[in-house]
């Protein structure tokens, strides 16, 4: 190894360690922070485990100040209604540091849940503990667990944030249908743009 290649390798290693290296929970992983009780802006304080339905649980990291979330709000509520009846529990989790994002403070979450007629629990993830445990990076980011509490899908709602009618791939809906039918989920991970979650320090 020449000195030059050594220096390059050292600098690449430095860059790799300083970059955000957070990985989302792996497919097959168990529901993190399952029994931790969180404040709920749309009902009584509860845990994620308590939201588990007979067919599974969808946890969606959320930030009402995020333009992506705003565009997906109705779509996610509609899926929660449809698949809630089919036995999948839903939970929204807000993990942003409210100091950095005052619009994500608990009282604002309550206002939003009421104004937009949320039909699912809307949890405040104090200290961003859930986000860290899930490896959630952005909003909206979906984590769908099957009836055994194992992760079967992680990623985007669909491939068309701005225009619901323009979606070609409805990843979340497809995964929900397969979970409800007891089938393996075919597309398990997707990537999409979204708002970066600002963790509590």
């Amino acid at each position: 190894m020449t000195l030059r290649t050594f220096i390059i390798a050292a600098m690449v290693a430095l860059v790799a360690t300083t970059a955000q290296a957070q990985e989302a929970l792996s497919i097959g992983g168990a529901l993190p922070t399952a029994d931790r009780v969180m404040q709920n802006a749309n009902g009584a304080a509860a845990s994620l485990a308590q939201q588990m339905g007979p067919r599974g649980l969808a946890v969606v990291f959320w930030s009402q100040t995020c333009p992506w979330v705003v565009r997906y709000e109705r779509r996610v509520m509609d899926l929660a209604t449809e698949y809630g009846q089919a036995g999948v529990g839903f939970a929204l989790v807000s993990s942003n540091d409210p100091v950095a994002f005052p619009g994500d403070a608990f009282h604002s979450m309550r206002d939003r849940a009421a104004a937009e007629q949320y039909t699912v629990p809307y949890f405040l993830d104090g200290g961003s503990e859930a986000a860290r445990a899930f490896g959630a990076l952005r909003t909206p980011q979906v984590f769908l667990f099957n009836a055994e509490g194992r992760l079967v899908y992680e990623g985007a709602v669909d491939d068309s944030p701005a225009d619901p009618a323009g979606a070609r791939d409805r990843y979340f809906r497809d995964a929900l249908s397969q979970v409800v039918a007891g089938q393996p989920v075919t597309v398990q991970k997707t990537r999409a743009f979204g708002c970066t979650i600002k963790y509590h320090d």
Partner: protein, 194 residues
């Protein structure tokens, strides 16, 4: 090190239907070649200009368009910063990227906004606040192919930054905010790899 896939050059550009729907002014322009506003959307050759005002031009790009733009710069190094007007860390690091661009003759810094088309006015206000002048970009098209073309390491989180050589070969990519010093360090590392 991966290279952005390059599609063959083309003579016209078809906007996705969502964009036509959201940019009626642009749709009208294709037909009428005039919209009567300084903020009018207009097409110049095979480039789609979605905003043109005082010293600021915003061009809509797919990942393939962006790859062509990077190569057309003929700069030793090109830093591409992906940002959005609502993204706090993006706004925080933006001035450092502008300063870095001004202070390095062999590096060209370009910005790609991931804003929705109807949020374009927010992006324009921010660019003006920052004293930005010149051409900048707005990502168009579907998320997944764009993210995949830029980097297999990109989760979609913003901000994100890529460094290319003059042939469009990617030398570095990272997600998250960096300081001026961190940016300089990473660009130097990329320069050593040339």
């Amino acid at each position: 090190m991966s290279e952005l896939a390059l599609a063959p050059s083309r003579t016209n550009f078809i906007l996705p239907s969502t964009m036509l729907f959201r940019l009626p002014c642009f749709a009208a322009l294709v037909l009428l070649a005039g919209c009567g506003s300084p903020d009018a959307n207009r097409s110049t050759g095979d480039r789609i200009v979605v905003y043109s005002g005082e010293n600021v031009t915003i061009q809509a790009v797919t990942a393939e368009d962006l790859a062509r733009e990077v190569q057309a710069l003929r700069s030793d190094l090109v830093v591409v910063n992906f940002w959005a007007s609502w993204c706090a860390p993006c706004r925080e690091e933006f001035p450092d990227f502008i300063q870095f661009d001004r202070e390095h003759a062999d590096v060209a810094v370009r910005f790609v906004s991931i804003d929705f088309e109807d949020d374009l006015p927010h992006a324009v206000s921010f660019l003006r606040e920052q004293g930005f002048t010149g051409t900048t970009y707005l990502r168009t098209g579907r998320d997944a192919p764009f993210i995949d073309a830029v980097s297999e390491d990109w989760t979609g989180a913003l901000p994100a930054t890529a460094v290319y050589d003059r042939n469009g070969t990617r030398l570095a990519f990272w997600e998250g905010k960096v300081s001026y010093d961190e940016l300089a360090q990473r660009v130097n590392a990329a320069r050593l790899a040339l």
